[in-house]
Amino acid sequence: MSIAPPDLPVGKNRGALDATADAEASGYVEPKTIRVKKRLTSRTATIASIIIALLWTIPTFGLFISSFRPAELIRTTGWWTIFTNPGFTLENYQDVLLSTSSSSPQLGSYIVNSIAIALLATIIPLVFASMAAYAFAWMRFRGVGVLFVVIFALQIIPLQMALVPLLQIFSTVLRPMQAWLHDVVPIIPEQNYLPLWVAHSIFGLPLAIFLLHNFISEIPADVIEAARVDGATHGQIFFRIVLPLSVPAIASFAIFQFIWVWNDLLVALIFSGGTQDVAPLTQRLAELTGTRGQDWQLLTAAAFISIIIPLIVFFSLQRYFVRGLLAGSTKG
């Protein structure tokens, strides 16, 4: 929710933007830029940026330090006294992850849930959105403009508008399916991921269609027409030409959707049912904050576990992620 941009297009800066990105990628900065830069940086600016950077890091850093401190020390001393009150333990992590006692958070199954939910909730909207984006970009039909603007506008319907009726639809349509599945394959719990997969796919579609359309519509027309002349069907063009060419756009949206789904709480609260069978990590963490708000040794470790996977995804694929953000906000 936080990162889904409404994608207001600003075509103007685009060429320059791409050029800078390329220069950055190759590590080459023109000499003139450096000259101007020197005159622009001042000591005040440097100090200010260091202060902002510190302000932004310290809260997370404190949480990280605390998650490795023994419960007794967290409860009685501030994490910044780590050197005067030393203490290091992995017990907190052991407790929240591995302990099977009913009083511990038992995060293991929630991690599996989060991965299972995010996996399909990323793949499904991506495939359907790229098909729709291809149709919007390369199949001529009447009303394309209007339909596309409608899809674009849908991005900004607040999720909250859809929740009550969607829950009603799910309880009449999906619930019997879930029950049937449980009867046929008993190992699959009656509360399963189906509603979450469907809900996240729906909510991710408008943005996905919009972003991928921007990219797919810029594939040179010659390429597509040459394939048409050679007798390729739309299905073949889509799979053999459009999809392979769109890998960068697809990758950047995939990271978006993954992080979005991983971090979601609202959809999970309403459609998961909140049991260990289905509920994601965020829901469990929110629950712990409510009921175990004083057990900081559990909360800090659990919170750190919940942010570690998106952080890994984020830092390893940061380049794609940023590109996706910029495509959303600066491309037409």
């Binding site: 936080s2 889904a4 967290i74 996996l119 399909l120 098909m131 009550v164 992080i259 900081w296």
Partner: protein, 322 residues
């Protein structure tokens, strides 16, 4: 979690993937083997149908239905009571006021700090590292961010040593520790700080890219004219990135109007901190006041509507230019 549970989950994912692949495969098969007559039409349907069906069932129909529910009692009779409640009950009014405060403060501060930071670190040594630091909270869930900040705001009574950073600072300067999250109105501001903390990185990345798009010649020319840093900032940089500024402001405004998790996790809307997005959940799913919840959702929609119209207009203009 037992092994059987894990197997069940893996099986679910595999089955989900297989069923989905089968659906897509069938669809593509029909698209390619569509009857000669009206082939273009059937191909179009094949490509568009899945997305359109999902979006109509999951967004368009529900949005219409919610609008109707907002004007109904729980028994289904037509009424304005839900809106009367939203605009007359002190608690509900407070929710609306809080939402307005959120949407005024978050975009302003996140954009201002993001812009300042982007200008400060532009082309400096270690720019990438600086960027990553500010951008990191984007990847952290609101729930995770809430735990991080709850820890900063933690309160210990009496003479006990403070473990929350904020109270520790207050005490170090000789003040009395404060129960931050329970003290109205400072608690709303402190929740807003969390949202600003998350959103600033987004503003910074977009604006930084825009700043790099400004021609170096322009800056140099301004420099030769003897302008100082601030004049160059207001006369060259800001006009040069106006478009991106609008993008950032509108995006963060929308995100702020819809934010739910921060309030839910940190105070659950108690102590006068609720906002429309959170109250909607509380009314519809906790108190079973479907009508009130729907009315709040509709109010939320009306609040984002001006931004929607503005965005659609810009998009239409763009498409006409093409």
């Amino acid at each position: 979690m037992t092994t059987a549970d894990l197997l069940g989950k893996i099986l679910q994912v595999v089955m989900g993937l297989v069923v989905f692949a089968a659906i897509v495969g069938l669809l593509i098969f029909f698209i390619d083997k569509a009857p000669k007559k009206g082939r273009d039409y059937w191909q179009l349907v094949g490509f568009l149908a899945p997305a359109l069906i999902l979006v109509s069932v999951g967004l368009i129909y529900p949005a219409i239905r919610t609008s109707i529910l907002a004007f109904q009692t729980n028994a289904g009779d037509f009424t304005f009571d839900n809106f009367v409640w939203a605009f007359t009950q002190p608690a509900a009014i407070r929710t609306l006021i809080n939402t307005v405060i959120w949407v005024l403060l978050v975009p302003t501060f996140a954009t201002a700090v993001g812009l300042a930071y982007a200008v400060f670190i532009d082309r400096s040594r270690g720019e990438k590292f600086y960027k990553a630091i500010l951008f990191m909270p984007i990847a952290i869930s609101f729930v995770g961010a809430s735990v991080i900040w709850k820890f900063v705001y933690e309160y210990r009574s009496g003479d006990r040593e403070q473990i929350g950073l904020l109270n520790a600072i207050v005490v170090a300067f000789g003040g009395e520790p404060v129960q931050w999250l329970q003290t109205d109105p400072i608690n709303t501001i402190l929740l807003i700080v969390v949202m600003i903390w998350v959103q600033t990185g987004f503003a910074m990345v977009v604006l930084s890219a825009a700043i790099k798009g400004i021609a170096t010649e322009q800056l140099e020319a301004a420099q030769l004219d003897g302008t100082n840093g601030w004049q160059r900032f207001t006369n060259v940089i800001v006009p040069g990135i106006r478009g991106s500024l609008v993008v950032v402001l509108t995006t963060i405004s929308i995100a702020t109007l819809k934010v739910f998790d921060i309030v839910r996790t940190m105070t659950a809307g108690n102590f006068n901190t609720s906002i429309v997005a959170n109250e909607m959940y509380t009314q519809a799913f906790r108190a079973s006041e479907i009508g009130r919840g729907s009315a709040l959702a509709l109010i939320l929609f009306v609040m984002v509507l001006p931004i929607v119209i503005y965005n659609v207009n810009v998009l239409r203009k763009q498409r006409e230019i093409r």
